[in-house]
């Protein structure tokens, strides 16, 4: 192989990062990167000038990417934002805003929403201090509180955070008695867990490294026209889809039939494909599993092997040299060479980071030009290790330090072996290293000194990168970079033969999904907002295809992108055709405002496609409503035992008692056949309430449904009156009564409230009427940021059997997999478009 005959002058400094005073001098501007020093003879000067292609531009065919597939039926909600986590307000006069996590608000919300969980164990412990029934008799003990009196004092009013609320002596006594316990133990224990969780969430918000590498891949098919997109789908991203796509010449890519599916048991984080010696493999990484499939003659995936990674897998890559060989790395710092035939071979293990100490456990492994040498990367550097050499030795390929003139706080986000270079273009020894600020090209034959550095300036972490084949018979290879927030950048790399790698032209940005907003019809603000949120969802996968040349008239490029909401968008690009409007060639009188005014515009076909997609999106039910805390009206809870008996619902009472004794949820079906469509005991609403309710419903886009319902209610109005007492008992079934009360105590079962529960403001007005509190729904309704805390907390409680979600969730799985409990009930079928395909094989 040739080595560049003359490298760009660079100062070489060793030391920690942040010393980039002079050494950065040759990397300041992109035009500098494009320049090369003329070779020894000044006659060659003209050739040097020719190297810079001034107008290397890929023109998008449309102003923004278009949806490729109809949206999935799984509801999606945008995740946490900084607003949910950060403390608002603060010191106004600080020069710098301070980042403070808002634990107080989260814990207060938690206590309101999950008060049953938070306080039930204490209630149980303090059972002997409460006197629940026997209203008349007064107890002598000062440590026993009469609950009924206490509640009467409260008068149904719960002083929600109101410090001036009236307090009776009894209440004061109670608060003195319970204060130390209620105030400290619950709060401190919970706060600790919650704090831990919030830190985790905040770090995840700042940098979500799970999908490093991307979860979208293109598998070429029988003919160059066909291919398959492989990507995860489903609310929990745990269903692997194989969607056949046809690249019709001169037309938009079209999908064929329904996708094949494989149901997995964890969210898919990374999908990698590669063809080596005619054998196409597909490698998939989940949080704790890795699996590899092989595409057979019929382009059907067949599972080769799946493997569990206890410490959590962070990266997987396919060997570009040997068929069926992979490299995987885990959070423990181990890197293994894995081939389905020979099994695992640990080639490196170091729990510490390479260059300096960093807390991140993220690791990455990739191949190099030598099939037995791997690169191992972490946040502080990249090292080359010989798998056949003695363990522990290796050569640093990239160091976050003065060698590459790194900035303070700079860390490696992604490292990739640029494998798909055709030999006549870039040499096969180049590695890409991306940090928050810059992009480096490092040649493994000259470690530590980057061949090229470019400040990408992306405002989100670069976790996706792809080197594309040269579009034209020239020696410029596009390198596509993808930021998590959806930004795409295209760089043009040149460096054939004996010349050093360089930028062949100014970098270019590609439209992101939010640029497609104008293609959608004009919408109501609320739906518009929802669409915007959807388009803004983080990008987690990138795939590119060069459509077959003989078919397309001009060389082109199709970029597919996958968002975390499960949407696949595509964008067609073509190199600028009109022979570069070079400034010397242009007449000075030309007064076009800009030589590259965006010529692309939306065609009616595009907008029609977009509105169709939107229609399908709106059919998708919105994310399940925020969980509403069960409320109890204590007066009726205590005072209506007689009433209950009068009604003779002895049987239901028995069921309730039984459920309480077992500590499980009482479901509606336990209470026998009940009319399901019965509306919930809505607050008795006057005409004024009706108006606001109607407005509210109309705002939520359900105006017509509300009117329909209203009409039905009116027609059945007269019949409602006699049925009312009965309805109350039904309501009790919607309570989640996690507190463990012994029925033998003679306490009354929870009873229905008569009027609107005072002060109990439902957290969401959209609570569905007949929402059953099945375990799934129970978990789904809880805001995701609180699930883990809740689970941790429950795990430490003595009342584990009360927690319904423990049944369905393996303790090791992550928070996001709780959503999977819902979808796991699907039978894992790899369904073909028409006929049932090969026997499904479970991945994990």
């Amino acid at each position: 192989m040739d080595f560049p005959s003359s490298l760009r002058p660079t100062l070489f400094m060793t030391g920690p990062l942040g010393l980039n005073d002079v050494s950065d001098l040759s990397f300041m501007c992109s035009w500098q990167n494009a320049l090369t020093l003329p070779e020894a003879q000044p006659q060659n000067l003209k050739n040097g000038a020719l190297h810079v292609t001034k107008d290397l531009l890929w023109e998008p065919a449309t102003p923004g990417p278009l949806p490729m597939l109809p949206p999935l039926v799984d509801p999606w909600e945008p995740g946490l934002t900084a607003q949910d986590l950060l403390f608002r307000g603060g010191y106004r006069y600080r020069r710098r805003p301070r980042v403070v996590l808002d634990v107080t608000e989260q814990i207060s919300r938690f206590l309101w929403d999950h008060g049953d969980v938070a306080f039930a164990p204490l209630g149980k412990l303090m059972l002997e201090n409460f006197k629940l029934v026997g209203t008349g008799s007064c107890t002598k003990k000062t440590t026993v509180v009469n609950v009924k009196k206490l509640l009467q004092d409260l008068g149904g009013h719960q002083p929600w955070g109101c410090p001036w609320a009236y307090l009776s002596n009894r209440q004061r006594r109670f608060s003195i008695l319970g204060g130390p316990i209620l105030g400290t133990s619950v709060a401190s224990h919970l706060a600790e867990l919650l704090h831990e969780e919030l830190v985790l969430r905040w770090e995840q918000l700042l940098l979500d490294e799970a999908c490093t590498g991307g979860a979208l891949a293109w598998v070429p098919g029988r003919t160059p026209q066909f291919g398959q997109l492989v990507y995860p789908a489903g609310g929990a991203l745990d269903r692997l889809h194989f969607q056949e796509v046809v690249l019709a010449p001169g037309d938009n890519p079209q999908f064929l039939g329904k996708p094949g599916r494989i149901q997995l048991q964890g969210p898919v984080r990374q999908v990698v494909t590669g063809t080596v010696q005619g054998e196409t493999l597909l490698a998939v990484r989940s949080d704790y599993h890795c699996a590899v499939w092989k595409f057979g003659k019929q382009w059907q995936p067949a599972l080769l092997q799946a493997m569990q990674v206890d410490k959590g897998a962070t990266g997987i890559s396919l060997s570009p040299h040997l068929p069926g060989e992979l490299a995987i790395c885990s959070r423990s710092g181990a890197v293994c060479l894995w081939s389905p035939e020979n099994g695992l071979q640990q080639v490196y293990k170091d729990p510490e980071t390479l260059v300096f100490r960093d807390s991140s456990s993220w690791r990455w492994a990739d191949f190099t030009a030598h099939p037995r040498v791997l690169t191992v990367g972490d946040r502080t550097g990249v090292k080359m290790i010989d798998t056949q050499g003695p363990p522990g030795c290796g050569l640093l390929l990239f160091r976050v330090g003065a060698e590459a003139s790194c900035q303070k706080g700079e860390r490696v986000l992604l490292t990739q072996y640029l494998r798909h270079s055709s030999p006549e273009c870039l040499p096969p020894t180049l590695h890409l290293v991306c940090t928050q600020f810059s992009l480096y090209l490092v040649d493994e034959r000259l470690p530590l000194v980057p061949m090229l550095k470019w400040n990408h300036g992306l405002a989100s972490p670069i976790l996706l990168a792809q080197l594309l084949p040269p579009p034209q018979p020239g020696c410029v290879q596009p390198l596509l970079l993808g930021g998590q927030a959806g930004q795409l950048q295209l760089l043009h790399l040149a460096g054939e033969g004996v010349s050093a790698p360089r930028l062949a032209g100014p970098p270019q940005s590609l439209p992101s999904r939010t640029d497609s907003l104008p293609a959608f019809p004009l919408l109501e603000p609320k739906i518009q907002w929802r669409l915007q949120e959807r388009l803004k969802a983080p990008t987690i996968g990138l795939a590119t295809v060069v459509p077959p040349l003989p078919l397309a008239s001009t060389p082109g490029l199709v970029v597919f992108q996958l968002s975390v909401a499960g949407d696949v968008f595509y964008q067609q690009l073509r190199p600028q055709t009109d022979s570069s409007p070079h400034r010397d060639a242009r007449p000075p009188s030309d007064t076009r405002p800009d030589c590259h005014a965006p010529t692309a515009s939306w065609t009616p076909q595009d907008t029609a496609g977009c509105s169709q997609w939107l229609k399908a999106l709106l059919k998708v039910p919105p994310a399940p409503p925020v969980w509403t805390a069960p409320t109890f009206n204590h007066h009726h809870l205590l005072g209506s035992i007689e009433l209950q008996r009068e009604e003779g619902a002895v049987q239901q009472l028995g069921v309730l008692r039984e459920a309480m004794a077992q500590g499980r949820l009482l479901l509606q079906r336990d209470l026998g056949s009940l009319p399901m469509a019965e509306p919930p005991p809505a607050p008795e609403s006057g005409p004024a309430d009706e108006l606001s309710e109607r407005l509210g419903e109309a705002w939520a886009g359900r105006g017509a449904a509300w009117w329909e319902r209203r009409r039905q209610v009116r027609t059945s109005g007269p019949k409602r009156q006699p049925r009312r007492p009965k309805r109350r008992t039904q309501l009790s079934s919607t309570f989640s009564f996690s507190g463990h009360v012994d029925p033998s105590d003679g306490t009354s079962p929870p009873h229905s409230p008569e009027g609107p529960p005072a002060g109990a403001v439902p957290r969401s007005p959209m609570t569905s009427p007949s929402q059953e509190l099945t375990p799934d729904a129970w978990v789904q309704g809880i805001p995701s940021e609180r699930r883990q805390t809740l689970r941790d907390y429950m795990a430490k409680l003595p009342l584990q059997r009360d927690t319904p979600e423990h049944a369905g969730t393996p303790p090791s799985s992550q928070a996001s997999s709780t959503r999977a409990t819902h979808s796991r009930q699907h039978t894992p079928i790899l369904s073909g478009s028409q006929r049932p395909r090969k026997k499904p094989r479970m991945g994990f």
Partner: protein, 450 residues
């Protein structure tokens, strides 16, 4: 309530770097943190309208640049100059550099800009950001060089070289060295032009002595300019190359060799393969003894075993009398073929086939086995798979034959690659294949002769 500003970095924008560098430890910086924080009112000083408009303008410029809308970017740039008036002293100081970066980029690509515009801009910027005088001068000179204006570039660098302002810092000294070296490089270009002129002239020509005098003058200046820089650790390929060429021209061989040896063997320098390549080429030109050439290439072999000079290295080793060199010769060939970029190098395969046969005939089976042991687990699927047999035969029959011979020697006659090539009926190569079959039977390491 917990305070995270210590562990989780404070916002790091250009304008706040000063403060964070004081406050933060060695943690990671998130350039996008600022955007998150701005969505929540979490206190801190409110940005002034001025700061807001300038930062918005900056992002517009960057966006336009990435869309190659040079004229639009130039329009925004016009408004961005207000940042020079910023009341924030840190921002005011950082502004010239940002303006230079963006402005030079716009002017480099702008369809209506020309060298004069660029010159005017660069001259203005040099004096606005006094701190950036040297860097801008250097880049300006590179721009001029790119446009073929050698003389202007040289003048620019000379001006920068003599520029003095404030106290001397080590980094500025290095910069001045770099500038001098570039100046030296420019002088070298002129020199080399003169040299070609000289070679065209007759010695008896009356102009000869004048030109020769010129050539000598240049060389002296250049050596002063370049020699200072190439002592500082770095990658200085173009400078070293030109410097050595001049030294060589004037017969200062020892000087040239010293420069090259320092460049190659100084431990403070990065392990630059070119340093060794230059030294090797120099020694070759000087007709240095074979042992010296071998010792230079031995180091290059350790750094870049895939370099194309390795085949030359192999030839040298093969011709050497020492037995250990013969062994190394085999190692080098195997080493070259380990790399993905060299798998189709027919010369390497040819050498290996020939040399393997020679070694095995010379009863050095152990050498081959030593090399083969670490490769037998992966070479068969890397080089000698059925897939490659088919595709190699289709693309390059000569290559396929060489590979098949090696495969046969290393894996025995049962090897798939060997069998596939053997089965092919080729009229011209028929004889060769037959000969190959015989040799494999005789020398293959799989069934050692008893």
């Amino acid at each position: 309530m917990s305070d995270f500003s210590e562990e989780l970095k404070g916002p790091v924008t250009d304008d706040e770097q000063v403060e964070t560098s004081v406050l933060s430890g060695a943690g990671m910086h998130f350039p996008w943190l600022q955007a998150y924080v701005e969505t929540v009112a979490i206190g801190g000083k409110r940005k002034k309208d001025f700061a807001q408009t300038t930062s918005a303008c900056l992002s517009f410029i960057q966006e336009a640049l990435l869309k190659h809308q040079w004229q639009q970017a130039a329009g925004y740039m016009y408004s961005y100059f207000q940042t020079l008036e910023d009341s924030d002293s840190y921002k005011r100081q950082a502004a010239p550099e940002i303006i230079w970066k963006l402005g030079s980029e716009i002017l480099f690509y702008h369809p209506k800009s020309n060298v004069e515009t660029f010159n005017t801009f660069a001259d203005r910027m040099k004096n606005i950001g006094i701190m950036n005088y040297l860097k801008i001068s250097l880049q300006h000179a590179l721009y001029l060089l790119h446009h073929g204006m050698l003389e202007d570039a040289k003048r620019n660098l000379s001006e920068a070289e003599t520029w003095r302002h404030g106290e001397k810092t080590s980094s500025r000294e290095i910069l001045i060295n770099v500038i001098q070296a570039y100046k030296g490089l420019l002088q070298y270009y002129t020199w080399s032009k003169k040299k070609t002129e000289l070679s065209k002239l007759d010695k008896d020509d009356y102009a000869y002595s004048a030109v020769a005098q010129d050539v000598f003058n240049h060389s002296w200046k250049t050596s002063v300019n370049i020699s200072a820089l190439i002592k500082i650790p770095g990658v200085w390929d173009p400078f070293v190359k030109s410097y050595v060429e001049m030294l060589e021209f004037y017969g200062d061989r020892d000087g040239a060799q010293e420069v090259l040896t320092n460049y190659a063997y100084d431990e403070k320098f990065p392990s630059n393969p070119n340093a060794h390549i230059y030294l090797y080429n120099f020694l070759k030109r000087q007709k240095a003894p074979r042992s010296k050439l071998i010792s230079v290439l031995k180091i290059l072999y350790q750094i870049v075993p895939s370099h194309k000079l390795m085949l030359e290295f192999h030839t040298l080793l093969r011709k050497s009398e020492k037995e250990e060199h013969h062994k190394l010769g085999l190692e080098v060939l195997f080493g070259v073929l380990d790399f993905a970029g060299c798998t189709k190098n027919i010369t390497a395969w040819k050498y290996l086939a020939k040399y393997l046969k020679k070694i095995l005939m010379g009863n050095h089976l152990v050498w081959v086995q030593e090399e083969w042991n670490s490769r037998k687990s992966w070479w068969p699927s890397f080089h000698f798979s059925y897939f490659w047999a088919k595709s190699d035969w289709k693309e390059d029959t000569a290559l396929a034959c060489e590979k098949a011979f090696v495969a046969g020697l290393l894996l025995g006659k049962g090897c798939r690659y060997f069998r596939y090539i053997l089965k092919q009926d080729h009229q011209i190569l028929g004889k060769k294949i037959k000969r190959m079959k015989r040799s494999v039977k005789k020398y293959s390491i799989v069934n050692p002769r008893l």
